[in-house]
Symmetry: C2
Subunit: 323 residues, 2 copies
């Protein structure tokens, strides 16, 4: 098999700035969530933000970088523009050891996507995404032969937002399934689930073998206020369901078992951006190597612990050295 995991996602450069809770309040931002913004709002908010650093991001792209960092084989499909931020994204994903299969965007289209990320002193990240060139990702970007050669096809819920990407995701899922491969999905964000709940449910029932969610996303999907109720409702909807709960660790449901796995210790939590993405990286790395649900969750916790110890959503050390 050529790849352990092939991912499809929104290709985004993160613009990260530490901030205060007062700034979040003053600018009416939705703390802890991902909010879509247009070019004008992105310009306005950027002008108000403090000094920033730019690092490549994008949820599934972060996961693919994590899998490569652990020693796995990963490929990524996403759309950037032919501009400086697109060059940064392409460089970083390739330098991480991931095959970047995105096709070149039309030079006249919108610029590469960016996510303005404000990190408060509690290490919580508040994300404001201008989708830019991501809206051009389309079914033509999905080459079925690539998906037939990957153990797992990994999709992000955020892909429901750009108009053509939903069909691209379905095409990728069908290509994977018809070749006998597995399909994994992350629900991405509670508001994203609320925006697209019906089609999320349809995709899960039709195509998804592994489902990743955090607690609030799971509650939004199952429309309940209680975690244990949500667990009961989601059980059996996918072969495996992994639910992350921040400092409380994660819960993995397989057909006949439930594993509750603690979070890995972190000396100082700086920026939680990418925690879920790197949990998925560790988990999928374990899954493609035949690990048990509990072992997969432990690998996820280990990878997440590294990424929340610094700013930025991709590993700063070779994660394989932690194994």
């Amino acid at each position: 098999m050529k790849y352990d995991v092939i991912g499809v996602g929104n290709a985004i450069v993160d613009v990260i700035s530490p901030t205060s809770d007062a700034f979040i309040l003053e600018h009416g931002l939705s703390k802890g969530a991902m909010t879509l913004i247009d070019a004008r709002r992105a310009h306005e908010l950027y002008a108000k933000m403090g000094v920033a650093r730019e690092t490549s991001g994008g949820s599934v792209a972060n996961t693919c970088a994590g899998i490569a960092s652990l020693g796995g084989q990963a490929a990524y499909v996403g759309r950037v523009a032919q501009d400086q931020l697109g060059e940064v994204f392409g460089h970083d994903i390739r330098a991480a050891g991931v095959d970047f299969l995105g096709s070149p965007a039309d030079a006249s289209g919108p610029p590469t996507a960016r996510c303005l990320i404000l990190v408060t002193p509690d290490a919580q990240r508040t994300m404001n995404t201008y989708l830019g060139a991501c809206v051009e990702l389309s079914p033509e970007d999905i080459k079925p032969e690539d998906f037939a050669q990957a153990r797992v096809t990994y999709l992000e819920g955020y892909l429901w937002d750009p108009p053509l990407a939903q069909e691209a995701m379905r095409k990728a899922a069908r290509a994977a399934r018809s070749a006998g491969r597995k399909v994994a999905l992350t629900l991405s964000d509670a508001f994203c689930v609320t925006r697209h709940r019906d089609s999320f449910e349809q995709l899960i029932d039709e195509h998804v073998d592994l489902l990743f969610a955090n607690e609030s996303e799971l509650l939004a999907l199952t429309q309940t206020a209680h975690f244990e109720d949500a667990i009961t409702r989601i059980r059996g909807r996918a072969e495996w369901v992994a639910v992350t709960r921040g400092a409380l660790g994660s819960v993995v449901l397989s057909s006949d078992a439930r594993a509750d796995v603690p979070a890995a210790p972190v000396a100082r939590i700086v920026d939680t951006t990418g925690a879920g993405d790197l949990y998925a990286a560790g988990f999928l790395f374990g899954y493609t190597r035949g690990c048990s649900p509990e072992e997969c969750a432990r690998l996820g916790a280990l990878a997440a612990a590294e990424v929340i110890s610094h700013y930025g959503a991709r590993p700063e050390i070779r994660l394989g050295s932690l194994l």
Copy 2:
């Protein structure tokens, strides 16, 4: 007075990546130095570099950001292009609280400058600069009235490299001097001194009140192999001379005294990029407030200690909180 310090420098976005000593050797890089590279070499080297982060840089721009972070009033003149990296540079210098006085560049010119910085495990930085739009900085960018309103005009030796910038520097120095203000210069880099030694000496003798150098730059300027010989030769060439010596601290020479000041303690040195720039920030902040040479050097050491404790050449905390 409107400004404590007005700086003129190469406006650069840093592209920072940790690397190994083997990489430095393999690619024939000049460890610890700043090497000028053309667009093609920049493209080649970037393709070989690992995952990077982008942060705004530029020696004097870093110093101006440091002065603002300490609570001083700073302005900056430098040339970026109208592109995404130029937007990043402009945002970051303004967000740091510095007045960015650069004029907009011609859209058809070269792109915003970048510096590919490789940081080895010993925290040493090896810099490879593509000057891009910096070559367009010219005397027309220097508005004498801005320089008359600043206690200190601060210039970087790196400005000798772009062709039109030398005359811009002389114009800035003359504007400052004729208004009765002070002129400061950093020698920037030992190879830069070697490239331009005669005109450096001329500028120092004609216009410079405060001279900043590290040990190797001072040795290159004075053409001696021994630090104490170099100190003897440079003494009296400017009102104040501040020489940084890394972990050995700094030496400040004024007309009648010499102060040897230790480096400030750092728990873990991560990346020495910006150490000299932030030393100058602390020093000039003290100078514009009438501090003694020794006090200025202590402020410089304090600011430098913060910037070498993390990746990137600009402060990550408000330096004023350390005072």
